[in-house]
Amino acid sequence: MTESRTRVRLKVLAALVVAMFAVLTTRLWFLQVLASPQFDAQAKDNQVRIVPITPLRGEILDRNGDVLVGRRSSVVVTIDRQELPTDQTDAVLFRLSNLLHVPVPQLVSRLNSVQYLPYQPVPVALDVSQQDVFYIREHQSDFPGVGYQLAAVPSYPQGDLAAQILGSIGRMTGAQSKEAALKNWPLTSEVGQTGLEAVYDSELRGELGKREMQVNAAGDVLNPNFGRIPSTAGDNLVTSIDANVQRLAERSLAQGISVAHSTFDQESQKYLQASGGAVVVMDPRTGHVIALASNPTFDPSIWVKGLTNRQYRQLTGTGSNPGPLFDRATQGAYPPGSTFKPFVGGAALRAHVINENSSLDCPGKWEVPGDTSHTVFNNWNPVNVGFIGLASALVQSCDTFFYQLGYKFWQDYVHSGYNVDTGLGGTETMQHELDQMGFGRRTRIDLPAEAPGRLPTAAYKRALVKSDPRVYGKYYQWLPGDNINMSIGQGFVTVTPIQLAVAYSAIANGGKLFAPRIGWKVQTPDGKLVRVIHAPIVGHLPLSRQQINFLRNALTGVVRPGGTAAPAFAGFPLDSIPVAGKTGTADIVGRQPYSWFAAMAPANNPRYVVVALVEQGGHGGTTAAPIVRNVLQGLFGLNTGGVQAGSDSST
């Protein structure tokens, strides 16, 4: 009996053992079959350390293939913190500082950067001479952990040409490091931060490669070439910029500014300050930008050399007086003055305020009919010219003619239900038409930080005045004077030079409003075409073909005798190369007039639109128009001995 009980109990225990085996088998099935892929990945993570291989960045070229931004190699001295003994750090940094003429605090701040992983050598000095590298190698015991490597840095073979639009690269920001496309990039990677470098960064930067190193649990590298995916060099960006035209535009602008500096302004009783300016050259047929100049300018290689806080402040300037970094062509918004008139005239045609054959008088001064305050609106020309049509009004830039258009728009506004007392209601026809022409919003050019300009409305004025009545007065309502001021491009309205260039291009090409493009083509490093960049058409002038041709024809008179730019174009072969243009002289309270000129040529079939602006440069006809003329001369090969543009390579 006892024996059988033992046997029973043994059997029970045996069953227990079988159950234990079942438990182990089930668990193993889960780990090794069901959850295996996850553990497989963890095992790979365990043994592989990935070192990213940064690709060579693409170059930025002009339309003829000339390099605007190249990449050159530079000797960079690095410090491997793991090999630098803690007790020797100070001594080594001191020696390095003496050798490379880099202050110790700068070396320390770079060395302590949290952006580098512990096993990554930290670059502490750029462009180190071969001599210094040899010295370090010969005295390696004095420089434990100090090494060197070749790094690619941007080069600017054209000097300061197109400095504002090329932009800069720099260590990626916190926000950039979170972008999906940059996820695996080392935090020390340099990516586009401003200008074209930023806009086309995804194509310029290339594709990251990686080297896999096999390590054991202790972190010892067992196989440094466990796996390797080579990086793919970035593509080159071919721009529609023509370096020769760009140079021509920049020099013409600089010349124009220096001429302005020696021109005495009667009104302010001072020489013209001409604090800066911009020139835009566009192909109105394609919407591509051929030149985009901004003055003052700077040497873009400062981004590579590094700059002090003081230098940086000088480059950025202040809000009211921006420095060279500020791209006046796309970021500066200025009252357009009379360059706005063709569009106001066009809006009037469109809104049937007048037609092509209507005549209005052009007195020396004009008052709003029935205005008991007798506010006087002056023409720039005190002489009464008599009744003229829209074409003559544009040629002579008759302000009083346009005041009447502005007033008619005002009357229209009131008829549509605008309440003068409350400042509410009604339809803002004038602004609606001008908005259709691209004013008051960004052109969406392929450059960052573009200014939208401003097309003022009743709502805008209300908000502005109420924000500070002491500055803006008590009238928060939109008043007749606001339409009247806007009719000559004054008051609250502002435009950017690129906006004006796009609008004039639309007059030149029959109405197409482009989002202008500087990028033209993307190519692989060995020249294979990746894609062509087309300037998208984002709108059309709300005018008929006849109305557009009417405006363009009218503007050809501006450069001919009797026009406001006639002196500037004296001697220009207008018979072979007809030019249509418009001067602008914009007033800003407390400043000298802003000088504008916008032109298209040849006027019968425009290939170029050129817009020039000089801040506080005086009259449009005297400062901006000669700059544009100089550019046009270069574009059409008319300059003898002067600035010469390249051949017309646009097709």
């Binding site: 085996f21 090794q32 553990f39 365990n46 043994q47 054991n216």
Partner: protein, 380 residues
């Protein structure tokens, strides 16, 4: 000495005890040991090379232990186990004496525990032999008392086990303590102890464990391991590192494994103590579920043969000894494999026949020798 080999079977004289040798058991044990030595090589050769040592250092030593173990097994098998019943108290007292001695300056210590004697370049751990000594002593005692043992007799059996348990526990060696406790419980069950006494014992054991925690007798690392086991999601915890790496290695093996000497976790030292307590992870990674399953089948065969021997032994002493050895192998295998796959807390228990280490291996083979001795003499 004559090793009974299968080919020699025909030449064995009719009626000789050698005729009854369980070759399946013998070959399974040897197979496990050879499997083990191959895995030890896999787990150590690369890091040995990295250190500039011979990659086969551990392989050779373990091979020597296998030979020594086989000799010890044969010697034990040839010895009539019934005589051991009389020698059991001596063996038991001898093992307890060694457990005392290892705590004196004669013993060596490492990693905060005092566990072995250093003899001629080899380490001898008395706690591993105390398992066999306890099996013999308890089997001898329980086979002497009448069926339906009294509480007093049960307590006496508990006292017999408690002495070595206490001595290994304070080394500290929690793993061996658990093995000894399992042996005690198994033998009490097999010897027909009344269920209510077992319940009382279980209650007392629970109280004792609770008391051990309260009195801080349990070392901090043991508590950490337990916490790590309870909460396996916190893989950053140091105590959990072993477990995580072990699971990764086994999981990465998948169905068929990475192939011999090709397991990256095994080769690159990611699993600590891999050639000793974590040898199963090498099997899991390099041979996958198929290999791990094969290993389990080998253990199942081993235990099945042991069970047969317990059932067919000619006397209760033989049955008890066989049951004790089965309990020893089972609990070691279950806890060892269980801890590598996260179903048991990590305790320093070697995998029978496979983990690197001479004392354990030789003790395991002596266990097989005892089983063969019982088997051979089952009709005698």
């Amino acid at each position: 000495m004559d090793m009974p080999l299968p080919s020699a079977r025909a030449s064995v004289r009719e009626g000789s005890p050698l005729r009854h040798v369980d070759f399946v058991l013998l070959l399974t044990a040897l197979g496990l040991a050879v499997f083990g030595v191959l895995m030890i090589y896999s787990a150590t050769h690369r890091s040995l090379l990295l250190l500039g040592d011979s990659p086969s250092y551990y392989l050779k030593r373990q091979a020597v232990f296998i030979v020594l173990g086989a000799i010890a097994m044969a010697g034990t098998a040839l010895f009539d186990y019934t005589l051991l019943k009389m020698w059991a108290p001596v063996i038991y007292l001898g093992s307890v004496g060694l457990l005392f001695l290892v705590r004196t300056p004669l013993g060596s210590s490492a990693l905060g525990s005092q566990r072995w004697f250093q003899i001629a370049g080899f380490q001898f751990s008395p706690s591993l032999f105390s398992r066999l000594a306890l099996i013999l002593m308890l089997a001898a005692y329980l086979s002497e008392i009448k069926w339906e043992s009294t509480l007093r007799e049960v307590l006496r059996a508990v006292a017999i086990a408690a002495l070595p348990m206490f001595l290994v526990f304070i080394q500290p060696d929690l793993g061996t303590t658990i093995i000894l406790a399992t042996i005690l419980v198994t033998l009490l069950v097999v010897a027909g102890t009344r269920a209510r006494y077992l319940v009382v014992l279980a209650a007392a054991a629970t109280l004792a464990i609770y008391g051990a925690f309260q009195l801080n007798i349990i070392k901090q690392y043991q508590v950490d391991r337990l916490i790590g086991f309870m909460d396996q999601s916190k893989n950053s915890q140091t105590a959990n590192y072993n477990l995580q790496q072990s699971k990764i290695a086994i999981g990465a093996g998948g169905l068929t494994g990475t192939g011999y000497l090709r397991g990256t976790q095994t080769n690159l030292d990611f699993v600590p103590e891999q050639h000793t307590d974590f040898i199963f992870t090498a099997v899991g990674e390099e041979f996958g579920f198929v290999g791990a399953g094969t290993l389990l089948v080998l253990f199942l065969i081993l235990l099945w043969r042991t069970y047969r021997i317990a059932m067919t032994a000619k006397d209760p002493f033989g049955t008890y000894v066989a049951a004790g050895i089965a309990a020893m192998f089972t609990i070691q295998m279950f806890i060892n494999i269980g801890m590598t796959i996260g179903i048991m807390p990590i305790t320093g228990i070697p995998l029978p026949f496979m983990s690197y280490g001479g004392s354990g291996l030789i003790a395991d083979f002596i266990g097989i020798g005892l089983l063969e001795s019982i088997r051979i003499r089952r009709y005698a």
